[in-house]
């Protein structure tokens, strides 16, 4: 044991330059990312209102969250609905469009990449959709439907419970072809071309088989990366919900785990309770990431 430690210590001293180079980043990373997560987990077992010292209360925040907080259950349901719909759809869309675009000529490919990527980088301009779904007759959706006679009077899209979720899902999908999409385009360009020729010789009959047996397995690293990005965004819906449906939304129709977190954290200052919400969200994200990565290992088998 003594020997192991002295060996380690020796290795650490020999690499002091490595640690020195990493220090500025790692210190900031620890302070602003790792420490907050740990603080959040600890606080989730306390009652804390920012004024008094946190008081340890065990699992109370969690039992209150799942048994007494009706709005949290709405938020949980909405978030899972978002994640189950926008997660897989946007992930598959990212891949399918990257795959089709990859077969275009370089010029056209650049244009189409921009078309699909532009919404996600255009700097939070989802308030365009406020104009489209505006509740009066000048909103473009109401205007079109009125003009063609589908409806007789304007619909309050973002103030009617039944329409809020579908609209937010639509906007979220519009925004979702981001970093994952770029990673897929890049990944497709690195697939070894000779594999396709070999595949043709081995009796691959059409592009769908080519996709399943050659393209997808060659891109496994990018598929993993894309999955992490899409899952994280799918569970973190909040900005779009707040921008379009307001905060809080009509009868909490657009409440998500993150808006619920913001509610308790910044409006009611119940930090312990908010931390419990954050911890639950963190666990959901990590768990779904692990499940999806397990599934992705089976691709092309």
């Amino acid at each position: 044991m003594q020997n192991w430690w002295s060996l380690k210590w020796h290795a650490i001293r020999a690499n002091k330059h490595s640690y020195f180079l990493m220090a500025p980043y790692m210190i900031l990373f620890a302070v602003f990312t790792v420490l907050p997560v740990l603080v959040s987990i600890v606080l989730s077992f306390t009652y804390f209102n920012m004024l008094e010292f946190p008081k340890f209360i065990g699992w109370q925040n969690y039992t209150r969250l799942f048994l007494e907080d009706d709005v949290f259950l709405i938020a949980l349901k909405n978030t899972l609905l978002f994640a189950v719909i926008t997660g897989p759809i946007s992930y598959i869309a990212c891949f399918v469009f990257a795959w089709i675009i990859n077969e275009l000529s370089p010029k056209l490919r650049a244009v189409m990449t921009l078309v699909f990527y532009a919404p996600s980088i255009s700097g939070n301009v989802y308030f365009i959709w406020l104009m489209i779904f505006s509740g009066d007759r000048y909103g473009i959706m109401n205007g079109l439907l009125l003009k063609f006679g589908f409806i007789l009077e304007p619909i309050q899209w973002l103030k009617t419970e039944g329409y809020i979720m579908p609209i937010i899902i639509l906007v979220q999908l519009w925004l979702s072809l981001g970093t994952g999409f770029l990673a897929f385009i890049a990944g497709l360009q690195t697939v070894d071309g000779t594999l396709y020729e070999a595949g043709a010789v081995d009796g691959i009959k059409n592009r769908w088989q080519e996709l399943w047996y050659i393209t997808l397995p060659s891109m496994r690293p990018q598929l993993m990366f894309g999955a992490v990005i899409q899952i994280t965004t799918a569970f973190a819906v909040a900005d779009v919900s707040i921008a379009l449906a307001g905060f809080p939304s009509v009868n909490y129709a657009a409440e998500t785990i993150v808006t619920h977190l913001i509610d308790f954290g910044t409006t009611r200052f119940e930090m312990g309770f908010a931390s419990a919400i954050a911890t639950v969200l963190f666990l959901i994200m990590v768990a779904s990431n692990l499940i999806v990565q397990k599934l992705l290992r089976k691709v092309g088998e």
Partner: protein, 282 residues
């Protein structure tokens, strides 16, 4: 890139391109609408039925916008300065810090390397909202609340940038680094004069990613003083103004979105080159 491939049915090609066109239109139409709106005279914005394309383009909305913001309590130029300062400083710091940390992770072997990298990858998996509140407390202990630094300093240590940079650096041939070592260069010298110039394409990706995050941030929760707030915040105020300011709001939308899109157009091929190495190892 493989050239003409076999095994293609015409029907398959047609349906795939139909799909691409339909969804491409869905992606781009709201943006086209936003661009056109910015040049519509006020009576055209409130025309019924609403139109997608502008008929009598005008610059009035932009003039209105500058007048509106010119008369506000904080001059418009201050918002621009704030945004440019936050974005610029954040990007420079992030590129340097993330690269310095990525180099040992990609090329050196030392105790703790695996665990450090695993934590960084794990942190890709959660949203900033999870840590927003403890972050606020830490910021206030450090006395950073209501300063630019509350937005800038955490940006130095975003995990996505380090992750992409590390993957990219793994492609640098080891012989290059060893040659420099034999010539007597120190690790810092190697990092600065050999590694950094070699990862320029990856800088660009980091710059674009950080630009998107910082350009769109309004420092909400951390910055209270009006004179420290960003362009994005000012834009939000205009949009919140409702019908009376619809023209100016459309102009704001165009200004906000045109900058990152332009930046991407000019750097697209380099970014994709970097992303090609972004794969997550099994």
């Amino acid at each position: 890139m493989p050239k003409k491939r076999v095994n293609r049915s015409a029907w398959g090609t047609f349906s795939l391109f139909a799909l691409l066109t339909v969804f491409g239109a869905f992606m781009v139409l709201p943006l086209v609408y936003a661009i056109n709106n910015a040049f519509k005279p006020l009576d055209e914005i409130f025309i019924f039925p609403p139109t997608l394309f502008v008929r009598n383009p005008t610059m009035n909305n932009f003039v209105d916008l500058f007048n509106l913001l010119g008369n506000s309590w904080v001059p418009f130029s201050r918002y621009i300065f704030n945004t440019v300062f936050i974005t610029g400083t954040g990007i420079v710091g992030h590129v340097i810090f993330a690269s310095a940390a990525a180099y040992p992770l990609a090329k050196h072997h030392f105790p703790g390397k695996k665990i450090l990298f695993t934590i960084v990858v794990l942190s890709l998996m959660f949203t900033p909202a999870v840590t927003a509140m403890p972050n606020y407390m830490i910021m206030s202990w450090l006395g950073l609340i209501d300063t630019y630094w509350a937005v800038i300093i955490p940006a130095f240590a975003y995990s996505l940038g380090l992750y992409l940079m590390k993957q990219f650096m793994e492609q640098i041939p080891d012989v290059l680094l060893e040659a420099a070592k034999i010539d007597g260069a120190s690790e810092y010298r190697i990092f600065w004069s050999i590694v950094m110039p070699n990862v320029k394409p990856a800088w660009l990706t980091l710059i674009i990613l950080l630009f998107q995050i910082l350009w769109g941030s309004d420092g909400n929760g951390f910055i209270y003083s009006e004179q420290l707030k960003s362009l994005h915040f000012a834009a939000g105020q205009v949009v919140a103004g409702g019908i009376a300011r619809s023209g100016a709001a459309a102009a704001v939308a165009l200004i906000l979105m045109s900058v990152p899109i332009t930046l991407f157009v000019f750097s697209q091929s380099r970014i994709i080159e970097t992303m090609a190495t972004s794969g997550m190892k099994d």
